[in-house]
């Protein structure tokens, strides 16, 4: 555990360390990014499946939300701790935990997005002869995209934060630096890890906002007088 006297004199950042460890910092940032990407990707796929079921069988929405809600409420460290005895100190453990956190927000937003499609549009589409599947893929999903991407943004930023915790169960990412700093009473990696994880979250958030903008040209079009 950290020694009080030592820490009081330790400088906040030792630039030399950063310089020496650039390669490792780069590696862990990439690792962090990859862990996030996998979690959000799988989470989205599962959430989409759950949402389709919930939209088709309305009564399942409550239970689905309840289960994903409980998963969301369980502190991340605890969730990882539950998994470790069964799946070990592995990437699988980390990913299972991370995916669980994305489910609630993604299911909520996918369902809300689809529900938000104007009834007139749906009626016109059905009246013109759209079958269920094509209606979903060509009409409802594209129109729900803004809300869905908003959910993706939130989920992704959340996961970026959680990946830092996976360092405690031996995974990679920027959390390693934070943990390292805490264990060795060394501020520099602690600060580097923290700042970079925030920066990564912000960058991804902005990028996804841009994606949202790109994907919905119709909402950019201005209304006629």
């Amino acid at each position: 555990m950290p020694q009080r006297a030592f820490l009081a004199t330790e400088p906040l950042i030792r630039w030399g360390w950063i310089w020496d460890h650039l390669e490792e910092i780069r590696t862990q940032t990439v690792e962090h990014f990859i862990l996030t990407g996998i979690a959000v990707g799988i989470g989205f796929a599962i959430a989409m499946g759950l949402s389709i079921v919930a939209l088709r069988f309305r009564r399942t929405y409550g239970p689905v939300t309840w289960v994903t809600g409980v998963l969301y409420t369980i502190p991340s460290l605890a969730l990882f701790a539950f998994l470790v005895p069964y799946t070990g100190l592995s990437t699988l453990t980390a990913e299972i935990g991370l995916v669980s956190y994305t489910l609630l927000i993604l299911v909520r937003n996918i369902v809300a997005g689809i529900d938000g499609v104007s009834p007139a549009v749906r009626e016109a589409a059905v009246g013109m002869g759209y079958g269920r599947a094509r209606l979903f893929l060509e009409i409802e999903l594209p129109l729900a995209l803004p809300v869905i991407v908003a959910g993706l943004r939130i989920a992704t930023v959340t996961v970026v934060g959680l990946v830092t915790v996976t360092s405690i169960i031996g995974q990679g990412g920027l959390g390693l630096f934070i943990l390292d700093g805490l264990r060795r009473d060394f501020y520099t990696p602690l600060i580097v890890g923290s700042v970079l994880s925030v920066a990564l979250a912000v960058v991804i958030d902005v990028a996804l906002a841009g994606l949202e903008w790109l994907l919905s040209p119709w909402s950019r079009a201005r209304t006629a007088g």
Binding site: P75, A78, V160, G161, I168, G181, L182
Partner: protein
């Protein structure tokens, strides 16, 4: 299974219920700090959020606060709190954990308080003002009662987050239920890790449920039955 049997044994071992490392002590420690941090954050965020919402301005600030709050990982906040706490002469353990938790709790409470007041229909407020109600009366007589449930939601979200993040306090020298998990990891005591996880998960869920019940009562009292509970602020630990 083996592990679960051992965990059960751990819970029934009377030694684990005694002393500073015992379940009651750690649990209380955890709850106390969580409650304190949430209360302090609420004391700051509710008035400021409500006042800003009442003034009708500052929508951008509220959005920015949420986004920033979301982007900063809780682990990072606790870790960063350490050097600053030490520099300020506050040492390790309680203070960095406490400060970090307060910071974490501020955004959801602030934003929800802001939105709560803002979302009281403009027509209602206008009617009130038109009837000659003074600003203070509008605030306390209309906006707070109608917005109360949403403010409580913000506090709930914050409280759950705080309880969850407090587990990481063990990494900066504090106690609480996270101790079981962290210490358990370092000595590879799977039983302790699992037991600690169970305790902390239970506490988090309990907090959510208790607040949820309070919210529902308040929602009904405000005659807002049927109004859907708003989306939570997303920021687990």
């Amino acid at each position: 299974m083996d592990l679960l049997a051992d965990v059960l044994a751990w819970f029934t071992d009377p030694d684990n219920w005694q002393g500073s490392a015992g379940i009651p002590n750690r649990t209380l420690e955890h709850m106390r700090l969580s409650a304190l941090a949430t209360a302090v954050a609420a004391a700051v965020a509710v008035p400021s959020g409500v006042l800003l919402g009442h003034s009708g301005r500052g929508g951008l600030i509220a959005v920015a606060v949420v986004n920033i709050g979301r982007a900063i990982p809780s682990f990072a906040i606790i870790a960063l709190a350490l050097p600053f706490s030490i520099r300020a002469g506050l040492g390790i353990g309680f203070w960095p954990t406490f400060l970090a938790l307060v910071l974490l709790a501020l955004p959801p409470i602030f934003t929800n308080s802001f939105t709560a007041v803002r979302s009281v229909g403009a027509e209602v407020v206008e009617a009130a003002r038109g009837m000659g109600m003074r600003e203070r009366e509008v605030l306390f007589g209309i906006e707070l009662p109608l917005g109360g449930p949403l403010i409580l939601t913000g506090i709930r979200v914050a409280a759950v987050q705080v309880v969850a993040t407090a587990t990481l306090g063990a990494l900066v020298g504090w106690g609480g239920l996270g101790r079981y998990i962290i210490d358990g990891f370092s000595v590879q005591d799977n039983v302790r890790v699992f037991a600690g996880a169970l305790l902390v998960a239970a506490l988090a869920i309990l907090t959510d449920v208790v607040f949820g019940v309070m919210e529902r009562i308040l929602f009904a009292a405000a005659g807002l039955r049927g109004r859907r509970a708003p989306a939570r602020m997303e920021h687990p630990a």
